[in-house]
Symmetry: C2
Subunit: 114 residues, 2 copies
Amino acid sequence: MKHGINTPEPPYYSVIFTSQRTDVDDGYVGLNDAVYMKASMLDGFLGMESFRDENGYGASITYWKTLEDIDGWSKNMLHQGAKELGKKKFYEHYKVRICKVEKDYEFNLENENG
Amino acid sequence: MKHGINTPEPPYYSVIFTSQRTDVDDGYVGLNDAVYMKASMLDGFLGMESFRDENGYGASITYWKTLEDIDGWSKNMLHQGAKELGKKKFYEHYKVRICKVEKDYEFNLENENG
């Protein structure tokens, strides 16, 4: 999974998806990959970062240009089908937070030493 | 690390801190724990979730009532000292995104079956 996303100057938007997985693995990785590949092809997609720990708790953060782009993703057919399957099989719990990124800054060690 | 934070109705704020660790472990875990224990005692702290994968890439997401609370955390002395140490020893790269959570929703499997 790609990390360390280059996003444009704020404001832009993020969707923080945190989840606790069930122990059902049947098709999960393939479905997850397909959903995020689809997301990356949609208008306004800026990037994503994804994490899951050894206890099945994870976060996927996607970045988008506008709230309308997030709405478009939310209504995407593949995404909607995946959500239904996710509720039936893959997730004990999830929470979605839709956020406006108001400010950002970063640090790169190589720039410090350069 | 605690997960699955109960936050109040939006709007509230989040700080998404993503980072790539160096391979220096000397004191990192203790410092990190101390910083987040301090954060949890500050005005407006609502919770935090933290993830790190096997390649040293991670995210810590903290939730706060207001932007002023985030500013207070940013100016905390322990936090400032930790940031300096982090740049010298612990991080190849980090990015901080300050966000307004505008909307949220969740799913709990036990409620579905209840």
